[in-house]
């Protein structure tokens, strides 16, 4: 049932062979095909722009007021590529290997190798678009290091790499819009996928300004709608990031893969009070120069400057001498939790660990540090009212990225023909843990260099067929369901706000399905979530009207879908009784407390099929022919 369509042949030749063997659509025929792209972040904007360039008729959708606002814009640190410009031993194979190992051997070899292969083209493409990457004095591109790698392969634009890459993709998209190749729909939210005779044929949307429910038909639908970290309420995701598009596709038959694989980022600013609406990330690049430590003595209340060197525990450097402060994210996060659980947390709420730049400032000077991280230091200063040039930063892990997502084959097509998922919305490349600076790489790889080739393989067979008319019963029924769902939410008229329910759901998810998970906690969550969901449908209050701009209604629909997703995440986490990457089951750890995989039992992708009662598990076995599975070690 799960056909991953991984091409045969040696790893290094698979992508080339595949590109040669799949069907193409000739240039003159491309304009006969209509493609819907939902989401205009790195993956969506790059895909829409490239498809438009190729000659397809593209309709792009975003709930933002402009494609430039997608949350890709917040990525700070950088983008990986196997250029080996620093001449430090990098290669496509090494980037592939680091990514597979970093993902704790829960991703597909073929996909990850392809990602490493196209990584170099992404840098070329973005530089040509005018992305102002950091440069050396001779004018060449500069690199820095990121967690989980022992080479410098990360390209960056100060602390705003995501912004600059997104603006590059946005500008490429703007060019196609001006040429009439892409029809852009802003402030328009996708609320359902339309499936006809087993194939995706269009979407149903809500115009967020007028409330109008509209149908859009196409030969293929591409979802590039991001991740679902906001199920935790507090995360580094933007306030409007949500799972609705992916979840609605799931309910229409697309399998949801590895939903429990979530990434908790180690370097976020600890929360300060109950009203906090989101958490702010401090780029992982800070771990290049910052040293992480806690007081040796539990409950040490002295200010950091008064704790002498001998009474500090630089626990990452101590436990992992080879990688030190640059261990992968899951390892760094878990170790911070261990220290805080031992009551060594610092700051007013005792919920942080120190990230200290004193040594780096002493060695390199304040100006160099300011040039590398100035904007991050400013953000930190503004939020906490503390100056990180003078006192160490306080950091704590926070939900940041979701490796799970819609199941896709090698062509990035879900198991619903004609429905594709790109970027964070799919599950494909990061396994159980994503390495830093790899999300931007994957989003752009999918959008610029993978989908525009592979989509032809599906489209070619329907040459000559017009898109399904929107008065077809498939559209009419889906549209009616969307309208009913909205009317239902508007009609509950209870006493509590949508945010109340979202916060409560977030607490359950963080406590039971967060940095560490165990059987009894997950079982508890699986009884608490349905109860909370029932309360939501009995007592939520959505004010105002549906036929106009209504931000409460937008949120209500998203939170409603988060309940169902949260349940599936817990179910997936419960069934996977091994630890892998970001998924740490307390029952499965090494004597040193590291994540212990069970390769014999769990070396597969869990792909869940929606069902009204209990979701049905399908397994895609993972085959490793080019890497040897080992216990990950960063010592």
């Amino acid at each position: 049932m799960l056909e991953s369509r991984i091409p045969a042949g040696p790893l290094a030749d698979k992508w080339d062979n595949h590109k040669f063997s799949i069907d193409l659509v000739n240039p003159a025929n491309k304009r006969k095909f209509e493609i819907i792209v939902v989401g205009t972040g790195l993956a969506g904007a790059s895909a829409a722009a490239t498809l438009g360039e190729l000659g397809y008729k593209v309709k792009a959708f975003t709930f933002h007021d402009s494609p430039r606002r997608a949350h890709s814009i917040s990525a700070q640190g950088g983008i990986n590529a196997a250029k080996n410009y620093p001449n430090d031993g990098d290669s496509i194979f090494r980037l592939f290997y680091d990514t597979i190992k970093g993902g704790d051997y829960r991703s597909r070899e073929a996909n990850v190798y392809r990602l490493a292969q196209v990584s170099n083209e992404i840098i070329d493409q973005c530089a040509a678009q005018g992305v102002p990457f950091a440069r050396e004095y001779g004018g060449q591109l500069a690199n820095r290091s990121f967690g989980g790698a022992q080479v410098s392969r990360t390209f960056y634009a100060r602390g705003q790499t995501g912004q600059q890459l997104l603006l590059g993709a946005y500008q490429a998209l703007a060019r196609q819009i001006s040429l009439g190749k892409v029809e852009m729909h802003t402030r328009t939210e996708m609320l359902d996928v339309v499936v006809h005779e087993g194939k995706a044929v269009g979407i149903v949307t809500r115009n967020l300004l007028t409330g109008a429910i509209e149908s859009h038909s196409a030969h293929a639908v591409v979802l590039a709608t991001g991740g679902y970290g906001n199920v935790y309420y507090l995360s580094t995701n933007a306030m409007n990031s949500n799972v609705t598009a992916a979840w609605r596709a799931h309910r229409r038959g697309a399998f949801f893969a590895n939903p429990c694989f979530t990434q908790i980022h180690p370097t976020c600013i600890p929360s300060s009070d109950e009203f906090q609406s989101k958490l702010t990330l401090m780029s992982e690049s800070l771990r290049n120069d910052g040293r992480i430590w806690v007081p040796v003595k539990a409950g040490d209340d002295r200010p950091p400057g008064q704790i002498p060197e001998a009474e500090r525990d630089y626990y990452l450097e101590r436990k992992y001498p080879a990688f030190g402060n640059l261990v992968p994210r899951d390892v760094a996060s878990r170790n911070a939790k261990i220290q805080i659980d031992r009551e060594k947390g610092v700051g007013p709420l005792k919920n942080g660990v120190y990230l200290d730049f004193a040594d780096a400032i002493g060695r390199l000077g304040r100006d160099t540090i300011a040039e590398r991280y100035g904007n991050l230091f400013d953000i930190y200063h503004r939020i906490t009212d503390e100056n990180p040039y003078e006192v160490p930063m306080r950091i704590y892990p926070a939900v940041h990225y979701t490796m799970g997502g819609l199941w896709v084959d090698y062509n990035l097509m879900t198991n619903v023909p004609g429905l594709y998922a790109l970027g964070e919305a799919n599950f494909s490349d990061h396994g159980a843990n994503r390495l830093g600076a790899s999300a931007l790489m994957q989003g752009l790889a999918d959008g610029y260099f993978v989908l525009p080739y592979t989509i032809g393989d599906y489209l070619a067979e329907s040459l000559g067929d017009p898109p399904l008319p929107i008065d077809n019963p498939a559209f009419v029924e889906t549209r009616a369901e969307v309208e009913n769902r909205i009317a239902h939410l508007m009609g509950i008229n209870g006493s509590r706000t949508v945010d109340y329910f979202h916060r409560e759901l977030g607490k359950i998810m963080w406590d039971q399905c967060g940095m560490a998970r165990n059987q009894s906690g997950l079982e508890k969550a699986l009884s608490e979530i349905p109860a909370l969901k029932a309360e939501f449908y009995a007592d939520v209050r959505v004010p105002g009207r549906a036929d106009g701009l209504n931000q409460s209604l937008e949120k209500a629909g998203r939170v409603a879908d988060f309940f169902e997703l949260g349940e599936l995440m817990c179910r997936d986490a419960l069934h996977r009784s091994e630890s892998a990457g970001g998924h740490f089951r307390e029952e499965s750890q090494t004597p040193e407390g590291e994540a212990l995989r069970k390769d014999d039992e769990f070396s597969y992708v869990s792909a869940w099929e929606y069902s009204e009662s209990d979701a049905i598990l399908h397994k895609e076995e993972l085959e490793f022919e080019n890497v040897q599975l080992t216990q990950r070690s960063y010592k």
Partner: protein, 253 residues
């Protein structure tokens, strides 16, 4: 602490608007300005009112969605700070805070504090890009970009497209936004081929929506990213040159 809010409420683009007064009690100094508004909104919903509509998303000062006139200043009193990064510790107990949407005919009000900034997208669509088809780029290190040019381009490229420059300008001019993009692309070797056409087309579209620049400098003060006024000089210089330069002889369009 406790603050009094005077907030612009407007049901729709064509509806008449007016100020409403709200009290925000138990505001913590650690709260961001938008978290304070979230709290007011939650109380409004529970008591049967309509929450205040405002655009926001990343809440870390980079997406450019948020933007409020706070006591008559775009993004409020703190320099170099977007509304979402403003914290309540900037205010004092008992303060009255006046909150309005961006005020410019180029940004029509949609509802309450949310405005339509699509004119910015149209300026970018007019030429705010480098035409390079996917897959046709040479190796990135073949084009050397001197560090000083890359840094200056990055300074300009840091614009988040929030529109504070327009809101702060007495003329409602968008020179800082447009100049930032023109400067970013025109300073780079990759941007030379389309330099003059880009400048001309972007400025022409800008003029359809926005007022004229008279070098007041309010824009750069309001800008949360500190985009320097020099970008306007760059825009003006290139716009004038675009009128006279022989594009065939310079091999630049």
């Amino acid at each position: 602490m406790r603050v009094n809010l005077r907030v612009w409420r407007q049901a729709g683009p064509d509806a008449p608007g007016g100020f409403e007064t709200y009290q925000a009690e138990e505001v913590s100094e650690e709260m961001s300005f938008l978290e304070m508004l979230d709290m007011v909104n939650e109380e409004l919903v529970v008591s049967g009112g309509l929450p205040i509509t405002f655009d926001h998303d990343c809440r870390e000062g980079i997406c450019g969605s948020c933007g409020l006139m706070i006591n008559g200043q775009a993004h409020g009193p703190q320099l170099g700070t977007a509304t979402c990064q403003l914290h309540m510790r900037t205010f004092s107990d008992g303060d009255t805070i006046v909150i309005e949407p961006w005020r410019s005919s180029g940004f029509p009000v949609i509802q309450d504090l949310a405005v339509n900034r699509s004119a910015f997208d149209q300026i970018i669509e007019a030429g705010g890009f480098i035409s390079v088809a996917t897959g046709s780029a040479p190796d990135a290190n073949l084009t050397l970009v001197p560090k000083v040019a890359a840094d200056a381009a990055m300074d300009a490229a840091a614009c988040i497209g929030c529109g504070a420059c327009v809101a702060a300008c007495p003329n409602g001019a968008a020179q800082l936004f447009t100049g930032a993009k023109i400067t970013h692309l025109n300073l780079l070797p990759q941007g030379q081929a389309e330099r003059w056409k880009r400048t001309e087309q972007m400025v022409d579209v800008m003029d359809e929506f926005f007022g004229s620049c008279s070098n007041m400098g309010e824009c750069t003060t309001a800008c949360p990213k500190g985009i320097p006024l020099e970008v306007i000089a760059e825009l003006n210089r290139d716009y004038v040159k675009a009128q006279f330069i022989n594009r065939k002889l310079t091999a630049q369009d």
